[in-house]
């Protein structure tokens, strides 16, 4: 019946060593590659953040020159978003979707290999720009012209690196969609799919619809710089702001690409540890879809100050505010799932609860930013920086960490150390708030973002933030340690791992066989 009887029958065929990883078509191997790559990039991007926080510890220029500081800001964001969070989610999708829907593997395994193996090359190109004449890109991750056109030799490398990341994401997304639509075990209807699968399906649509637009916009940058076009040049009838519209048409859905899979993860974890089914499953699905839909019509809330016509400002303000409604539905459903449950607080649950609280705080500041007349004050200050780190770090990254603890026993067959896991959670949660909460005050008090030096009135909160930053960074060493320790050994994990866990992936042995479901399982 359900579990794979043929597991490891082909073991002798698998190449070992490096070749195994380079040529693999196995969804678990590829998932592992993605996750390890993401961890590496998290460390690289984090190191850049540490340089930023070190320079901002005090007013005055201490460690780095302004141009290099801007490079750090730019590269930090690109590495974290495209190198850490997105690949981490794709890695989770690879590991989990086939197991959750009862499939042997991803639908297009060879392409799966390619989507991963483009990434190391893309980031090698991006990171190599640090050593080029004129330095690494320093125009911000948003790459606004005309500034970005002043980049030195790094410029075409930046564009092509983005192209490669785009190709990788699009292939990854196509694979996810096809797998979910085409590979479900009999009886696994759409409305029986775990929410992680649902949120990823919708995320994949967002990716396919927006990554090509990003590719188009950076292509226009390339031709404006090298082939005399005037897309973003007023003298030729273009407009620098046009780039911003095209970029944010990608960029806003992108931020939901960075959060929807996290919603999915939290929707898996909370019911498990509340020992109670997810409250409002179908409304969760509809809410996710509404968020995705709305995400296409709110992009200009990043551009309230560019001088749009009043009607435009009003439209984008209203549409943005609306997103709070479906997101609220999700938050309320999570809380209702916990209500009258029988809860325990293992590390994954701690991260999930932390997510709900801190993501919501980030959502509230998002809602404040959506109010155009006040955004004129908030825009391009540390208030924005605080907002998006709450949703990205305590949102996306916390969810990824929660997911790691939740499924690591399944993946490795070993339990992680619960004591260290909890320590990691509490240290992270305390330090991350010391890191980012004061940034709200800095922004409100008038500190602009993307500056290497500031007026002394901002000193105290910057110091607090930097200290929190170093502490949060160091705490992540503990995370790396726990993961390695668990991979290398530890208490054996059972099939179900968690008392309250439900779903197909928990019917497989831990670790699961090479081909997840050789014969499709029956779903009741």
């Amino acid at each position: 019946m359900s579990t794979a009887t043929t597991h490891d029958a082909h073991h002798e065929e698998h190449p070992s060593g490096l070749a195994r990883w380079i040529f693999t078509t196995n969804h678990k191997d590829i998932g592992t590659l993605y996750l390890l790559f993401a961890l590496l990039m998290f460390i690289v991007g984090g190191a850049m953040a540490m340089i930023i926080r070190a320079e901002l510890f005090e007013p005055g220029l201490q460690f780095v020159e302004p141009q290099f500081f801007n490079s750090m800001t730019t590269m930090h964001a690109l590495v974290m978003i495209f190198g850490a969070v997105m690949p981490a989610f794709v890695g989770l999708a690879n590991w989990l979707i086939p197991m959750m829907i009862g499939a042997p593997d991803m639908a297009l395994p060879r392409m799966n290999n390619w989507s991963f193996w483009i990434l190391p090359f893309a980031f090698a190109i991006l990171i190599s720009t640090l050593f080029m004449d004129g330095g690494a890109p320093a125009g911000g991750w948003t790459m606004y012209p005309p500034l970005v056109l002043q980049t030195g030799n790094a410029f075409p490398f930046l564009i092509f690196a983005v192209h490669l990341m785009g190709i990788s994401s699009i292939m990854g997304a196509i694979n996810v969609i096809v797998t979910i639509i085409n590979m479900r075990a009999p009886g696994m209807t759409m409305m029986k799919m775990p929410l992680f699968v649902w949120t990823w399906l919708i995320t994949a649509y967002l990716l396919i619809a927006t990554m090509p637009v990003l590719a188009g916009s950076v292509t226009m940058l390339l031709t404006d710089r090298f082939f005399d076009t005037s897309f973003f040049d007023a003298a030729g009838g273009g407009d620098p702001v046009m780039f911003q519209h095209i970029f944010w048409f990608f960029g806003h859905p992108e931020v939901y690409i960075l959060i929807l899979p996290a919603f999915g993860i939290v929707s898996q974890i909370i019911p498990t540890f509340a020992r109670k089914p997810l409250f409002g499953y179908s409304s969760m699905v509809y809410a996710t879809a509404s968020i995705a839909f709305l995400s296409f019509i709110v992009w200009a809330h990043h551009m309230f100050t560019v001088g749009m016509p009043l009607t435009g400002e009003l439209f984008f303000m209203y549409a943005t505010m609306l997103i709070a409604v479906p997101t609220g539905v999700k938050v309320f459903n999570w809380v209702s799932t916990m209500w009258k449950g029988s809860m325990t607080f293992e590390t994954p649950m701690l991260f999930a609860v932390g997510f709900v609280v801190m993501f919501t705080i980030g959502g509230f500041s998002g809602l404040m930013l959506a109010i155009a007349p006040v955004d004129f004050q908030y825009h391009d200050t540390y208030f924005v920086v605080a907002h998006f780190h709450y949703v990205l770090v305590t949102g996306a990254v916390f969810a990824i960490m929660g997911a790691t603890y939740y499924w690591l026993p399944k993946w490795t067959g070993h339990m992680y150390s619960e004591k260290l896991g909890k320590l990691h959670f509490w240290l992270s949660t305390i330090s991350v708030n010391v890191l980012f909460f004061p940034q709200h005050f800095l922004g409100l008090a008038g500190m602009p973002r993307r500056i290497p030096d500031y007026s002394p009135q901002f000193t105290e909160f910057n110091q607090l933030s930097s200290i929190g930053g170093f502490a949060f960074g160091l705490t992540q060493l503990l995370f790396v340690y726990i993961v390695i320790q668990t991979i290398r050994g530890g208490e054996k994990a059972s099939e179900q791992v968690w008392e309250g866990a439900h779903g197909l992936e928990w019917t497989l042995p831990s670790p699961p066989p090479y081909h997840s479901f050789s014969t499709a399982p029956e779903i009741k």
Partner: protein, 375 residues
């Protein structure tokens, strides 16, 4: 009005915030948004407090419920899991209630926004131009124009001197405006995008090259208000502050008259012959203010980004070409056209300086009259 009513109702809650601000008691400016000195900034502040408290209230309800559950419904306390997992009625309620809250926020927000965007019936118009990395101001009806750059010395930035009171928020030529007058700014840029922002005036607008954006303010109180460029514009984005001095009508008039006088004196000076020593002295100063940000005080530039002028073919070649590059810049690069920013004397001084400093000893002396002729 809704805003003020809600604010009054929530003043009690504000005590909690006051607790926090007590730690940094110096000014309300440090922790929370400023109330500012214009009707716009006060409107923004009121909106800000309204949404802030709405969010806090929702947060208390949501997190409160969650923490009650976390405390009570634990397995270790013997809680048995309930099995309910659906309720259409509840879902509808918590869709509609937030929606209604949002609508009630959108109404005052719309009102505030409409008022902010209304630039009609202004008393004076000033054109503001962003340059890498300074601001140009042009009083359109008065014929007064000048450039405003950072006044903080490099030594303070590089920690060789103690930092002054207005570190990084001080300029050589502040912009002066009358109080209680509707001032309209026409904002544009000469190179990349900048943004003009003074928190106490409550408005921020991007300076887009090739386009003009409008904004307005009416300042209630005399005083000096400081702000910064708020859009990443390259290396010295953090070093292009804005200082606005709001004066009463009479002082403002006096200031305008002074500016006009200075300008006339400048024009007269362009007609006489200048000595090498005079030009070099003035050139060094003006070079430091206008060119050193890119080409560096040493004239060595930044390899790969800004070319060295020391020993450069242009700065040691024909004068006409050198003058042309400085006056007209080079399209598509960061090298701006300085003809419109600097006076004849200043241009002559800078070019003379560049041709003779750092071992570029060409011996050439460029007179202001030559610059005038080249315009």
């Amino acid at each position: 009005m809704l805003v003020s009513k809600t604010r009054r109702a929530l003043t009690a809650g504000a005590g909690a915030a006051a607790l926090l601000s007590a730690a940094t008691a110096s000014a309300d400016y440090k922790l929370n948004l400023t109330r500012g000195v214009t009707p716009i900034s006060q409107g923004a502040y009121d909106m800000h407090m309204l949404i802030l408290w709405v969010c806090v209230a929702i947060g208390v309800v949501v997190f409160g419920t969650m923490f009650i559950s976390i405390i009570r419904h634990r397995k270790s306390k013997g809680a048995k899991p309930a099995q309910f997992h659906e309720s259409t009625a509840v879902e509808i309620v918590w869709t509609i209630v937030p929606f209604v809250i949002l609508v009630s926020m959108a109404i005052p927000a719309t009102r505030a926004l409409v008022a902010m965007e209304d630039t009609s019936n202004s008393d004076i118009s000033i054109k503001v131009t962003g340059y890498q990395w300074k601001w140009g101001y042009d009083y359109m009806d008065e014929g007064v124009s000048f450039i405003s750059t950072l006044a903080t010395p490099k030594e303070q930035i590089y920690n060789q001197q103690d930092k002054g009171e207005h570190y990084l928020l001080e300029v050589d030529n502040p912009i002066v405006v009358p109080v209680k007058k509707k001032v309209r700014l026409l904002i544009t840029s000469n190179d990349v995008i900048h943004a003009w922002w003074v928190p106490k005036l409550g408005m921020k607008k991007d300076a887009i090259p090739g386009f003009i954006n409008e904004m307005w303010f009416r300042i209630d109180r005399e005083g000096t208000y400081r702000g910064q460029c708020a859009e990443l514009c390259g290396k010295d984005h953090g070093f292009m502050p804005i200082v606005v001095e709001a004066k009463n009508e009479a002082d403002y008039r006096q200031w305008i008259a002074d500016q006009k006088g200075a300008k006339a004196a400048d024009a007269a000076a362009a007609d006489r012959d200048w000595s090498m020593a005079e030009l070099m002295e003035r050139g060094e100063k003006k070079y430091a203010a206008n060119c050193a940000a890119c080409h560096q005080a040493s004239g060595e530039g930044i390899p790969g980004t800004f070319p060295a002028l020391k020993g450069s073919a242009i700065a040691t070649g024909p004068v006409a070409q050198h003058l042309d590059r400085v006056m007209n810049g080079k399209a598509g690069t960061a090298m701006a056209a300085f003809a419109g920013q600097l006076s004849d004397v200043d241009l002559a001084a800078i070019v003379t300086y560049e041709r003779n400093a750092w071992g570029n000893n060409t011996g050439d002396l460029v007179q202001p009259s030559e610059v005038k002729a080249a315009r």
